[in-house]
């Protein structure tokens, strides 16, 4: 109530805010001209954009050649947002004179990003390394239907997938390679 004998606490608080204001306006010190855009902690999106980290979960990319439509990703997805349709076809035999192999060929592989919760379970359970995370995040659409990314669009995202980073010292995990 009676602030008179204990003023310093409030005054120090005022000093902290003034110091922050000065630091934001004059990031190079008081002698240089003010440069607020560099001093602030914010980024002026969309004029300047921050680079997300390599592991950021932005969008999922599909490497179609690796996919054998085993349906594991569609089954494990908590939201059931992956739609897969495939048909059996014959591929050339491995050796001369052998039987043609029957493989699955993808008809449809859609990920509905309006449902996806970006948990990464599908990427993790895929046994054939066909799904990859990409840090791209600017794919908002005007219509919800456009958030259903089909096979070709998922293939386009493969170009944005960064390489797996090297790991810290002491790690025994082998760093995998992204198939290009």
């Amino acid at each position: 109530m009676a602030n008179k004998p204990k003023v310093p606490g409030i005054v120090k608080g005022l000093g902290i805010t003034m110091k922050t204001a000065v630091e934001t306006m004059f990031p190079d010190g008081l002698l240089r001209p003010p440069s607020p855009t560099r001093g602030a902690s914010t980024v002026q999106y969309p004029h300047e954009k921050e680079e997300p980290v390599a592991r950021a979960r932005g969008v999922i990319a599909l490497k179609e050649d690796n996919c054998t439509s085993c349906m594991l990703c569609a089954r494990e997805c908590p939201d059931w947002c992956i739609y897969i349709e495939a048909h059996k076809t014959l591929a050339p035999p491995r050796r001369e004179g052998g039987k043609p192999r029957s493989v699955n060929a993808l008809d449809r592989f859609d990920i509905d990003y309006s449902l996806c919760m970006y948990c990464g379970i599908c990427v993790e359970v895929c046994p054939f390394d066909a799904l990859f995370w990409s840090p791209e995040y600017e794919y908002s659409e005007v219509r919800i239907q456009d958030l259903l990314h089909d096979k070709s669009r998922l293939d386009e995202w493969m170009e944005t997938v960064p390489d797996f980073e090297p790991l810290e010292a002491g790690s025994e995990v082998k760093v995998k390679k992204v198939p290009r």
Binding site: A2, K4, T17, M18, T20, A21, T24, T37, A40, S41
Partner: protein, 350 residues
């Protein structure tokens, strides 16, 4: 009155009513420009820098047109009256608050002749007009038919009336020193005065009346319902208190009134304590030059003081209602009374 007056600057002959209209219009323009500038500078930019961010940057260069964009946004909103509200009083409450603000500007001098009405009881008139806003706030709170608004308005009523007294008492010290209630006389007393015989910077009352200055600023902070005294608005509890049911133009009027009152009080404080539109008389600047420099001087001083008000507003948490009242009645009023006694003694002795 049919008294013809020679307008000092233009050299024209104007009737009293014509001159009054010109003064009122110029006063309004100055008021709105200053308010807009203060809103942009402090509410958008300074607070942003204190919070390590930039504030509005898109509307105009460095966000300077943001206020116009905001005004446009508020103007095109739907004018909503809640079903249970008392529609007439709900509607005119903002006008009452705005009227009290505009009336305060009538006597603030910005130059040797640049004042809308040079009243003999200048400072008394200002303080009386500033209390009118309480009526507007209570009207708004009661007519809103909203418990939050009512609580905010009742808190405001108590707070604003409680802090009127330190405001008035702090000013009395200045009035005793200057010997007049007229604002132009107070300005002249400061610029022509001397500190122990040295006329270098005149005699701004901030030096001799530092206690009164501090009390005045604290009371101004409370009159404007700014943190740390913003219980009536209390954003995190009452979500705008007595203003909670207002949208559109009426909310814009409250917004303008708040900042215009801030500018008005800061202008009064700079007139009373910092020397107003005058530079020290010893510097020997002619009256003609002061016609041009005067408005600039008072604008600079007022803007600086508004800056202090906003600096404190955005740094400190708020008081609870009873702590606020205790501060007013138990600390500020006794201090102000002591200040008056000391000033009176000093004035008689020296």
């Amino acid at each position: 009155m049919t008294q013809v007056v020679l307008h000092p600057m233009l050299g024209l002959e104007l009737a009293y009513w014509q001159e009054t209209i010109i003064r009122v219009l110029l006063g309004l323009v100055a008021l709105l420009l200053l308010t807009g500038g203060v809103v942009y500078l402090y509410l958008f930019k300074f607070v942003s820098f204190m919070q390590s961010r930039l504030g509005p940057m898109e509307a105009g260069p460095y966000g300077s047109m943001q206020l116009l964009a905001e005004v446009g946004k508020w103007l095109q909103k739907e004018d909503i009256f809640t079903e249970d509200s008392d529609k007439f009083i709900f509607g005119i409450a903002p006008a009452v608050v705005l009227a009290s603000t505009f009336l305060m500007f009538v006597v603030i001098p910005a130059g040797p002749n640049a004042v809308v009405a040079d009243l003999g009881t200048g400072i008394y008139f200002v303080l009386a007009m500033s209390s009118l806003s309480v009526i507007g706030i209570l009207m708004a709170g009661w007519a809103s038919a909203n418990k939050y608004a009512l609580m905010g308005a009742l808190r405001a009523g108590g707070q604003l009336i409680a802090y009127e007294l330190p405001l008035v008492l702090a000013v009395i010290g200045v009035v005793i020193s200057a010997g007049s209630l007229n604002l132009q006389d107070i300005v002249a007393a400061q610029s022509d005065g001397a500190i122990f015989g040295w006329t270098g910077i005149g005699n701004p009352y901030i030096l001799t009346q530092i206690v009164g200055f501090t009390i005045f600023l604290i009371a101004v902070q409370a009159e404007l319902t700014q943190t740390p005294f913003d219980m009536p608005i209390a954003e995190s509890e009452l979500v705008a208190g007595y203003q909670v049911e207002y949208t559109g133009i009426r909310f814009l009027v409250y917004f303008i009134a708040e900042f215009a009152t801030a500018v008005a009080f800061a202008a009064i404080a700079s007139t009373l304590f910092l020397g107003g539109w005058q530079l020290p008389g010893a510097w020997g600047i002619s009256d003609g030059a002061m016609n041009a420099i005067g408005p600039i001087m008072i604008s600079i001083k007022a803007v600086l003081l508004v800056g202090v008000v906003f600096w404190v507003r955005f740094s400190l948490p708020r008081f609870r209602e009873d702590q606020l009242q205790k501060l007013a009645w138990k600390v500020l009023i006794p201090l102000a009374l002591a200040n008056i006694v000391v000033t009176g003694v000093m004035k008689v002795v020296f």
